[in-house]
Structure formats: structure tokens, C-alpha cells
């Protein structure tokens, strides 16, 4: 039998499993938390914005009032980096808020969600990778500036330059490779599968 011949029966069947809710039941639902990926994303963005703002304030205070020049530079630079990170976070947060308050057509809704998530994944990855050279260079600068640490290196097993260079290179490579693959894996685990499924829906809608 064809779909059209069973139209009314199907409509009834679809509506049959229907317990019915009162106004009070619906009012209770309005105060619950959303479980959608976008809702979760919004909540985590808000947390990250607040956390980054806290870090900027704390690191700025340490940077301004510390007596050690190396700590001053280290915390000031990280305060600036976290400050810069807040801007894209606010941008994504505003876009997700706008998205959840409109009822756009299915295709454009999907495209907006995918573009928000891809933007966030890209920025998150860029930020994590940009931190590696910054952390590495700062750790070297701090060691070379701190007389006590340099002396300890000179007295110990790392008296020869080649040993220090080898250890530093191996450490830098391990840090870079480890962070690169871990971040990729983490982002794919968190959002990758979801983005792929949404993209499949967009492709299906675009097919003629």
C-alpha cells in the first residue's frame, strides 16, 4: 500500500502515544535545564568566560605587584593571552544565544550550529597549540634568568651544553606532539561525531 492511502491512520497512530500534560506539568518543564549540545556548549562557554576573566584579574595583579621580574613577565603575558581568548568566547556565546532564540528553517539552523561548532573547535585548537611555544620559551627564559636554577644545572648532570639542548628538544617535541594529538582526539570525541552527523543532514538537504 502507498503512503497516501494510509495517511489518516498514520496520523492517528503518531498521536496515539500521548499521555497529555497539564499547564502545571509544562510550567515545571520550563524551569528545567536544557540537555541539547548547544545548551551544554553555552553553559561551558559561560564558565570559560568567567574563569578566563578571573585568571586575567589574578594574573594581572601578580604581574603588577610581583617583585620577581621573571614572574612579572610570565603572569603579565598570560593575562594578555587569556584576555585575548575571552573575545572569541564572547562572540560564540552571543551567536549561540541568538541561535536558541530563533526558529529558523531546518537547513539554516543546522548550518549555523555547524559553523558555530567549527569556529569554536578551530579557535580552541589554535589557542592550545599557540600556548605550547609560549610555555616552552617562557620556561627556558625563566630558567636562564633564575640564577639558582642555572647553577643547579651547571653543577649536575646537565653541565654539557649538548645534554641541555637534547633534553630541551626532546621535551619540546614530546610536548608538541602529545598536545597536538591529545587536543585533536579530545575535540573529535567531544564534538566531532556530532558535527559530522549534522553535516550529513545538511548534505542530505542539499541533494537534488
Amino acid at each position: 500500500m502507498e503512503l497516501d492511502e494510509l495517511k489518516s491512520q498514520l496520523k492517528n497512530k503518531l498521536a496515539s502515544d500521548h499521555a497529555g500534560r497539564s499547564d502545571t506539568d509544562i510550567a515545571v518543564l520550563l524551569n528545567r535545564r536544557t540537555n541539547s549540545v548547544i545548551g551544554k556548549l553555552k553553559r561551558s562557554l559561560l564558565k570559560e568566560i568567567l574563569l578566563s576573566s578571573g585568571i586575567v584579574i589574578l594574573f594581572s595583579v601578580i604581574g603588577l605587584f610581583s617583585n620577581h621580574p621573571s614572574l612579572k613577565i610570565y603572569f603579565s603575558v598570560f593575562a594578555v593571552i587569556c584576555g585575548v581568548l575571552i573575545l572569541p568566547l564572547i562572540y560564540i556565546f552571543r551567536r549561540t544565544t541568538r541561535l536558541s532564540s530563533t526558529a529558523s528553517p531546518v537547513k539554516s539552523n543546522l548550518q549555523t550550529i555547524v559553523s558555530i561548532m567549527e569556529y569554536m573547535i578551530k579557535r580552541y585548537f589554535q589557542f592550545t597549540m599557540a600556548l605550547i611555544p609560549v610555555c616552552f620559551i617562557f620556561s627556558l627564559l625563566l630558567i636562564s634568568n633564575d640564577g639558582k636554577v642555572s647553577q643547579r644545572f651547571a653543577k649536575g648532570d646537565f653541565s654539557a651544553n649538548w645534554k641541555v639542548i637534547t633534553i630541551a628538544t626532546v621535551y619540546a617535541l614530546a610536548l608538541f606532539v602529545g598536545t597536538y594529538y591529545f587536543t585533536k582526539w579530545y575535540l573529535r570525541k567531544m564534538y566531532g561525531k556530532y558535527v559530522l552527523q549534522l553535516k550529513e543532514c545538511i548534505n542530505e538537504l542539499s541533494e537534488e
Partner: protein, 165 residues
């Protein structure tokens, strides 16, 4: 600010729409409950921007379908295998060929993709291809092409399902 009372009353009048979408997209009862909650919340968030250009029912379909398509079941639960068993069957024990065909068609719709399910749902609600296109964000022509393909797919699936019953 949008009135909560007004929204609740409107949603209550149209809650069948939300139930239909939940029944179509989710098999397990708990998943349907989760989706119902999610659709209600999303509709409430978007209600402030509902200007009444379209009918409330059309607007609610749009919100409900958007939510259902982007909603994914919690991983812990058993796989979402679509079955007609979870739908209450009010038919008597006697064999009813039409009822069996409805069951088979219902199960076949359950095997469609999320996008195809949305198109079928709106088609069953007698929306025109133009209206379906507007809601889905595609052209009416594209809706017609997709609907033809879906009908063929459903016919094939139904024949397989009928052999089962």
C-alpha cells in the same frame, strides 16, 4: 517580555504536535520524555521572538523538528532500534489487514533518516510542498523529488515489513 501563562496555554493546546515529533524520532519512552522536555524548553526560549507571522502550529513544528534533528540520545541507553511494539496498539486480537499495513508503514517511516522523517511528518500534516520547503529551508521542487524517493523507499520497506508480520 513574553507571557509564560500565554505560552503554556498555547503549548498545551498544541502539545499533540510535540508528541507526534517525539514519537516519530524516539523509540524508548525515556528518550521521548527527554525530547519533549527539550522541545518545550527550546520553544519557550524562542517564543519571545514569535511575532505571529505564521500560525503557532507551523512555528511549533519548526522548533520541534529543529530540536529533534539536532537532538541525540544519551549514550548510556540501549540502541535506538525502532519498533512498533512501543506504540500502544488499540486494535483487537483479530487480524486486520489495514492495521497490519499501517504498522508496517509506521515501522518503515521509523527507519528513514532524520531529514526524511521531518518531510514525511509535514506531508502527513497536509502541508504543501512550498510550506514544507520553507520549513526545511529547501525549494518546493526539492521537496517533491525527495517525497517521491521517500514514497518508493517506504513502499519497498513496507513490503519487507509486511512479510515479517
Amino acid at each position: 517580555m513574553a507571557s509564560e501563562k500565554e505560552f503554556i496555554s498555547l503549548l498545551n493546546q498544541h502539545q499533540k504536535i510535540v508528541y507526534k515529533v517525539c514519537n516519530l524520532y524516539m523509540d524508548a519512552h525515556s528518550d521521548r520524555e527527554d525530547l519533549f522536555q527539550e522541545i518545550t524548553l527550546q520553544a519557550w526560549k524562542a517564543y519571545a521572538n514569535f511575532r505571529g507571522d505564521a500560525k503557532f502550529s507551523t512555528w511549533l513544528y519548526r522548533v520541534a523538528l529543529n530540536t529533534a534533528i539536532t537532538f541525540f540520545r544519551k549514550e548510556k541507553r540501549k540502541p535506538d532500534i525502532y519498533s512498533t511494539d512501543s506504540i500502544p496498539d488499540h486494535s483487537e486480537d483479530t487480524y486486520d489487514p489495514i492495521e497490519e499495513q499501517v504498522k508496517a508503514m509506521y515501522a518503515a517511516i521509523g527507519h528513514l533518516s532524520k531529514i526524511d522523517k521531518a518531510i514525511v511528518m509535514l506531508y502527513l500534516e497536509d502541508y504543501s510542498y512550498i510550506e514544507i520547503g520553507e520549513m526545511m529551508g529547501i525549494t518546493a521542487n526539492n521537496v517533491a523529488v525527495k517525497m517521491n524517493r521517500i514514497k518508493i523507499k517506504l513502499k519497498e520497506e513496507t513490503q519487507k515489513e509486511s512479510a515479517h508480520f
